[in-house]
Amino acid sequence: MTGQQASRITYTLDSSLDSVNKVEQTAEQMARKAGVDEDEIFRISMAVREAAVNAVLHGNAYDPEKRMTASFENTGSSLVIRITDEGKGLDPSTLPDPLAPENLLRGSGRGIFLIRSFMDEVHFRQLHPGTELTLIKHLGSAPAGA
């Protein structure tokens, strides 16, 4: 399902890897259209992919009854991407630091860290049920994570 309001596009998607790929590709197209450079396109699309993976895998746990929504908006000064799931909710303060020596060799737990590294702002909101993740990249800002 697709809805469009001004420059915002919203998708409601099932909890699948195909949905993750679609969200990633949409972010890439949006960033490219906004005129950011190739390195930033990579960072933005990767951050959005990680957010979508979190929604589908950790939030909705691939539940076919649960949906992920993804909205993409270019405000002129920023790219704003919102990803929501219908899962149990995510408290980012409980996430272990993937850079801590005791966590370096863990096989998972780097997604949120990469999102924060690559975007200018990241906001979490509890939806009861679910989580909304807002990713913001300011246009014209210095590259993050470089």
Binding site: V20, F42, E50, L105, G107
Partner: protein, 116 residues
């Protein structure tokens, strides 16, 4: 979208030439299965050639770490060869660059393995 893997042997070292994307549900599983197969055959000197890997996500990074620890725990050595700039940068950001033994020349990488 998926990853390509081919395997070759050079002086007792198994080189996995990887290409494409190492991501959740695609390349990650292929990489895990390939490394497990090699260990099952007793091939414990493994060199992952990432020169043609153009994309890796956090799941793929996690799979590299898991492969590294799995091989090491079985008394083997897993090293990385020919990182693209994107993969290099990701390993730097996640502080994994110094965890892995990273090589940029195949011949010297082969020579760096111990002779069991």
């Amino acid at each position: 979208m998926s990853m390509k893997i081919s395997t070759r042997q050079v002086d007792g070292v198994t080189i996995l030439d990887l290409g494409g994307r190492i991501t959740l549900g695609e390349g990650s599983v292929q990489l895990r299965d390939s490394v497990r197969d090699l260990l099952g055959k007793g091939q414990k000197k493994i060199l992952l050639n990432l020169g043609e890997v153009n994309y890796i996500d956090s799941s793929g990074i996690g799979e590299l770490v898991s492969a590294y620890t799995t091989v090491r725990n079985q008394g083997g050595e897993l090293k990385l060869l020919n990182l693209t700039r994107k993969v290099h940068d990701l390993l730097q950001i996640t502080k994994l660059y110094t965890v892995f033994d990273v090589k940029d020349d195949e011949a010297s990488a082969i020579a760096s393995y111990g002779h069991a």
